[in-house]
Amino acid sequence: MKTCIACGMPMEKTSDFAAGDVNKDYCVYCARPDGTMQSYDEKLDSMTEFIVRTQGLDKKAANEAAKSMMARLPAWKV
C-alpha cells in the first residue's frame, strides 16, 4: 500500500489519490484543485487548521506538531 509522501495517509482506494491518479505519490488532501501538490507552507497551514478544527489544540501547539510530523515525511525531509 502506498503512503502519501506529504501527509503520511495510507492510500488504498483510487479516490484517496490526488486527482484519482494511482501513479501519484500524494493524496487527495495534499493536492491543489488543479491536481498539483501543495507547497510546504500550504500543507503546514492546512494540517495545522485540521488539527485545531478536529482535535481542538492550541494553534501554536498544533503548528509545532504539524511541523514535526511533516519533517518525517519524504516530501519534506531535508
Binding site: F50, T54, Q55, L57
Partner: protein, 197 residues
Amino acid sequence: MKETQRQKQKSQTRKQIIEAALKQYAKTGLIKTPTIEIAKSAKVSHGTIFAHFPTQDVLLTEVIEEFGFRVNKRLHELVEGKSTVEEILKAHLEGLTEYEDFYIRLVSESRLLPPQAQDTVIMIQSAISHHLSRAAEIEMSEGKLKKLPLHMVFNGWIGLIHYYLTNHDLFSPGESVLKRYGQELTAYYMALLQVRI
C-alpha cells in the same frame, strides 16, 4: 556482493530489535524498560542495540514511530467504507484492541516521552479525527446527531476511552478493557450524541 549481504543482515537485525522492543515496551513500559531487556528479547548483545540506535531515546522514538505507522495503517483499513460515526467509533476500538498493551503505555506515559514521540500520538489521533469529523458533519447536517463542535466530539470520545485504558487494572484486571467495555462505551457515547426523536 559481500557488502549487500552485510547490509541485509544489518537491516534484519534492526527489524529484530524493533520487533523485540515493541513487545518489551508493551509489557514493561516505555520509560522504565532497560535496553538490556530488549537486547535479551531480540537475542542480540547489548552493544548491538547501540550500534543501530545511538541512544535509548532514539530507539524509543523510532519504535513509537513504527507503532504509529502500523496503527494508522490498520485504522485506515478498518474505517474504509464506514460512513457513520457509530461505525467509525467501533472500528477505532477494534484497531486499538489489536494494539492495546502498547497503546496503553503510550497514552499513559506520553507526557514523559521525547517531543517527537508525543507528536506520534497526535498523528495516531489525526487518523481518527479526520474520519470521525467527516462522518459527524454529515450526520449533524442530516439532523441525526446534535450540532456540537467537532473537536469536542472527538475529545469527549478520546477522554472516555483513555480513562478506561489508563485505569485498565481497575476496570478489567488481567483482560482487555476494550473487549470488555467497548460495546458499552460506544453505546453510551452514541446516546450522548444522538438527537432524540
